[in-house]
Symmetry: C2
Subunit: 298 residues, 2 copies
Amino acid sequence: MKLDQVRAFIAVVETGSFRSAATAIHKTQPSISASIKSLEEQYDILLFDRDSYRPTLTAAGHSFFQQSKKLLSQVQQLESLGHNLSHGVDMPLRICLSQMTLTSNCMQKIKQFTQLHPHISLDITTGHMHGVQETLLKDQSDIAIGPRYGLDDRHAFTELMTVNMVTVIHPDLLEELNTIGGKSSGKIKQQQLYPIPQILVSNPSRSNKNNDGYQHLLATGKRWFVSDFNAKKTLLLNGFGWARMPRHIIKENLDSGELIAIDIEQFASTSEMPVLMIRLRNQTRSHQANLFWDFMKP
Amino acid sequence: MKLDQVRAFIAVVETGSFRSAATAIHKTQPSISASIKSLEEQYDILLFDRDSYRPTLTAAGHSFFQQSKKLLSQVQQLESLGHNLSHGVDMPLRICLSQMTLTSNCMQKIKQFTQLHPHISLDITTGHMHGVQETLLKDQSDIAIGPRYGLDDRHAFTELMTVNMVTVIHPDLLEELNTIGGKSSGKIKQQQLYPIPQILVSNPSRSNKNNDGYQHLLATGKRWFVSDFNAKKTLLLNGFGWARMPRHIIKENLDSGELIAIDIEQFASTSEMPVLMIRLRNQTRSHQANLFWDFMKP
DNA sequence: TAAAACGATCAATAAAAATGATCATATTAT
DNA sequence: ATAATATGATCATTTTTATTGATCGTTTTA
């Protein structure tokens, strides 16, 4: 397949005839004929129906056209990239941060990096849960920073820090718990929590097959799924349930007593969740990506 | 730009040398040199650093390589499509249905279509809200069926039917309302509903700028966002709030008294929501798509 | 009914790509 | 150290490919 052949094909479709296509892309009509013929012979398909005066796309030709358009837009992207690169326009370094990692600690380190390398432009996006690693796989980011959830052997990673996770609940709900369940202090039994929903952050966009990584689920409790930590926090503050939260997000609410940290029997109520810096193992890394990786690496 | 040049470039990157690249793609080394040189001159960039013995990618070369890989995968898609088309493999017709439209009425019409055209393979996906129209724009579907939300002038549509929307609430909550608010029958005042959350289906994946289409929001009430109608139904059945629902989804719950239809003052409590069949205006349509469109059109 | 536009075809020509030989240099192996 | 091997650039030559202009039989348009 030659690009010029595809260009000729598209020109014919869009101008409606071989001749007009020829003038449109500055070639001669026989040249267009040859290009179409070559495509048709190469794949053993009929792109145009020549029975009528004007060439009309066959069903196969229609599918081929749509895909051809995609190909050509990809070509144009590559060509404009080529031209941009000659003018010193670098590709931005794309970082995807898990909401969980938005601590001043981590952000300051990134800010230091930007100050150290002011010529490197950073594209920073945020995501939740597996979504962070998915941006790597979908080539929407070069480096991701997030929890261990959803990693497999395609990912390489290094631990950056840990986030203190704490199990919290609204004081009203806690009181309700104690009046029903029994003891007013000490550890809470798992059974006591069953009637109260656990609020979890989920990624509803993709139904993930493997449920690994959810090591912090209460086995039979009711569960609520929200889309991000802010929604989770809102629900918590309104007393809709209990949840595990990064301490830095709800620190002020803990201090003011709007939320209470609780301790559950046989359940990792507070824990240090590792935050990883992640990249794809088999992908060639840009120089900027390597600089960032080495700078952030502990 | 020639495809062979890009292929040569990628081969060099992946094999590590011009000579090995030559053998890998069955060309000679001078040919590879010429290809790379041509690319470099065309865009006025340096792809490889030749100072060292082995050619190593420059920063520009690295960016160019990543984009080149994408291009080539697009090429392979087109080529395999070409070969498939010759063996009579048609592209499936991709329909995206809003969850709201999953009435037996609509589904039966689609089933009739499949029986009428057994050779046309249908790919059916479902989505929520704007997500349905987005599949069109992202070229993930050929025809969408869903509500009016999020349409703009890129879309062409025709009304298929209407779905009866009804405002419902859990009987316990209704009782609570009446004891607090006053009357035990007749219309409910908007103010009475403020303390009870309205449950809405949202599309959290994309933060949509224009809030048009949400004509059924109570101005100052609390709001809950869930990802689909099933979640909404679950919340309703558990008495978490009130919501507007397609009648066909909760018909049985209304009959059994698990949910109660309510009437709110100055609020379109029950209404007929139009369900549209939607396609992109400027996109060439496949024969299958036209067949489907004409069949479904009232 | 005449004129214009269409696509297919073909021999001739122009352009481009691939080739093989050769060179200077860098890396290995001995 | 030294010989052997491997690397990329260069160039004249050949081969392949693309393009052209002319022409033919149609179909559409005026």
